[in-house]
């Protein structure tokens, strides 16, 4: 017998004798009932709370976290090619997904999947035309605030949008809009799209024939494009588009959106405005999900890093907090580690959730003080959703 086997035998003998001793010690005097056989059951979810946070994990799922408890409550299947939306009435999660019948080959299926928000049961699957496939492109999918319509960006490679009747469970029609991509939902009655010439195309739709209008180009799409990860507050229809150099354009989306003159994130912070120099080191916005919004206070959160132009995918070392109405920097928060994604809780004292590129923890930050409240061990990535109020 070698030493390892002997060690195992010794420790096993010790455990058995310890268990017997314990059993003798407790058998006689106790009056507590004998543990009963258990029935296996399945958990359900409480109503969606303001401190829920739903980040992507391992590019295969989104994990539902209760941040106050620091625990996973459940799992929504959704790959890095999927888009996920919380239904406006918070009764469902919608997942636009693409799968192949034989894993890496076979029949391609594009689906809008509906999960019950209490049981996470898959209650409906709506067949779709081929979606646009891109890595974690959250703005490929939106749901109208009345919960009647899903808007899904298609690319085949010609570009269009599927208008999905969520109640009937089918695609009602498809609108071809060449030259434009993504979907930014209005407060009611339609959505807008960003176009390659630096303009918005606006699609008024409420079940009948869509009416399409166009704005004039408002940003320099060749040299200083706006990030696709714009903020849209669906309660008001306000949209915030932010360019690679940190120019902020605000508007209320609709058939004829008036777009504000841009202001600069850096100038709001008392720094010089930033240009497009490839050797122009400055604080710049960046990351996979670089922006978050708190509607209760009208605060915008931006991941910022020092870098040159074209460093727009670089993780942020600071989170900058802005009051958008006042075009004012409120504070700069040093992040304990670089973050590629940021999200915010919707309540009055917003929690910020900072996450890395992949397989990392969740850093929970008090947005008012910048203090790290806690770090939740996790294996999550940059992309996430957080519920509205």
């Amino acid at each position: 017998m070698n030493w390892r086997s002997m060690k195992f035998l010794l420790s096993s003998t010790f455990c058995v004798s310890l268990a017997m001793t314990a059993s003798r010690a407790h058998a006689a005097p106790t009056s507590s009932p004998v543990l009963q056989a258990e029935v296996s059951d399945t958990a359900t979810l409480p109503p969606i709370g303001p401190h829920w946070f739903i980040p992507s994990a391992s590019e295969e799922t989104y994990q539902i976290y209760d941040i106050d408890k620091g625990k996973v409550l459940g799992t929504i299947p959704a790959t890095m090619l999927a888009n996920i939306v919380i239904a406006p009435d918070k009764k469902n999660f919608y997942v636009a997904e693409t799968i192949w019948s034989r894993s890496d080959h076979g029949t391609r299926q594009d689906l809008l999947q509906v999960y019950d928000a209490k049981t996470l049961s898959l209650t409906k699957e709506i067949e779709l035309p081929p979606r646009a496939l891109a890595v974690f492109a959250a703005q490929d999918f939106a749901v109208s605030s009345d919960n009647k319509w899903g808007f899904i960006f298609n690319m085949s490679p010609a570009t269009s949008v599927s208008l999905v009747d969520l109640k009937a469970g089918k695609v009602a029609q498809t609108v071809d809009i060449p030259g434009c991509a993504l979907v930014y939902p209005w407060k009611t009655g339609g959505f807008s799209r960003l176009c390659g010439n630096g303009s918005l195309t606006n699609v008024a739709f409420d079940g009948g024939s869509p009416t399409v209008t166009h704005t004039k180009p408002f940003f320099d799409s060749n040299n200083d494009p706006v990030f696709e990860q714009a903020i849209v507050d669906q309660k008001t229809g306000q949209a915030i588009f932010i360019s690679y150099t940190g120019k902020v354009y605000t508007t209320v989306l609709g058939p004829d959106p008036k777009i504000s003159a841009p202001w600069s994130l850096q100038e709001a912070a008392g720094l010089p405005a930033v240009g497009t120099g490839v050797q122009e080191l400055a604080w710049r916005p960046g990351g996979q999900q670089p922006f978050a919004w708190n509607a209760a206070k009208g605060e915008l959160f931006v991941l910022m890093h020092p870098g040159n132009h074209w460093s727009h995918k670089t993780e942020g070392s600071q989170g900058w907090v802005f009051n958008v109405a006042e075009k004012k920097l409120l504070r700069r928060i040093d992040l304990p580690q670089p973050a590629s994604g940021i999200a915010a809780s919707p309540d009055n004292d917003a929690l910020l959730y900072a996450t890395g590129h992949r397989d990392g923890p969740i850093t929970v930050i008090n947005s008012s003080t910048g203090d790290v409240i806690k770090t939740i061990p996790a294996r999550v990535g940059a992309m996430s959703i957080a519920p509205g109020l």
Partner: protein, 183 residues
């Protein structure tokens, strides 16, 4: 620089990543044109761009550090606009697909500066498709963002999954084939 978005990617494909800024093509039409005419009727566009703004005027960090010796590293000069796993790390090469996969007939393009001769070349980032993603070491998983654009400029966006025109649309790895001199 962040790590690649495409680690363990289940699928991806043709992404365009062109060079200097002023591409003006209409999104859908460009995509369709590329799908129909694989490769290189677009070349004049790239040439025009290169002429508009000489690459030597101001070099990016990538261009300053680019090397010419090892194509299986992310800083190899041709990978100035790549996003994915290098096929040279997966049994293929800089313009060769690994066994069991096929090159996408559609490719996105970039313009990269060769430090050896100071000239810019049009590069076709042809992906190899039809098998699950190659799990190469992290050093082979690249994501360079020079002149990378959002999805509404698809010809220059490296997040788009685009494997149209292959038997299976599954992404395996990426190559960087020279098409010709850009200027």
């Amino acid at each position: 620089m962040t790590a690649s978005l495409f680690d363990r990617l289940g699928e991806k494909a043709a992404r365009y990543l062109a060079s200097h800024a002023s591409r003006r093509g209409v999104l859908g039409k460009v995509g369709t044109a590329l799908a129909i005419a694989p490769a290189f009727p677009l070349l004049p566009v790239s040439r025009a761009e290169a002429e508009e703004k000489p690459v030597s005027a101001s070099l990016t960090d990538f261009e300053r550090k680019a090397q010419t010796k090892d194509p299986d590293k992310c800083d190899y000069w041709r990978h100035c606009a790549i996003d994915g796993v290098l096929c040279g790390c997966c049994g293929g090469g800089v313009h060769t697909c690994p066994p069991g996969t096929e090159p996408s007939p559609v490719s996105w393009i970039g313009t990269c500066r060769n430090p050896a001769d100071g000239l810019s070349y049009v590069i076709a980032y042809r992906d190899c498709c039809g098998r699950a993603t190659c799990n190469a070491p992290a050093d082979c998983d690249c994501n360079t963002a020079d002149r990378e654009m959002p999805i509404y400029k698809p010809q220059t966006s490296n997040d788009i999954i685009w494997c149209f025109g292959t038997k299976s649309t599954t992404y395996h790895c990426s190559t960087s084939a020279i098409i010709g001199k850009a200027s």
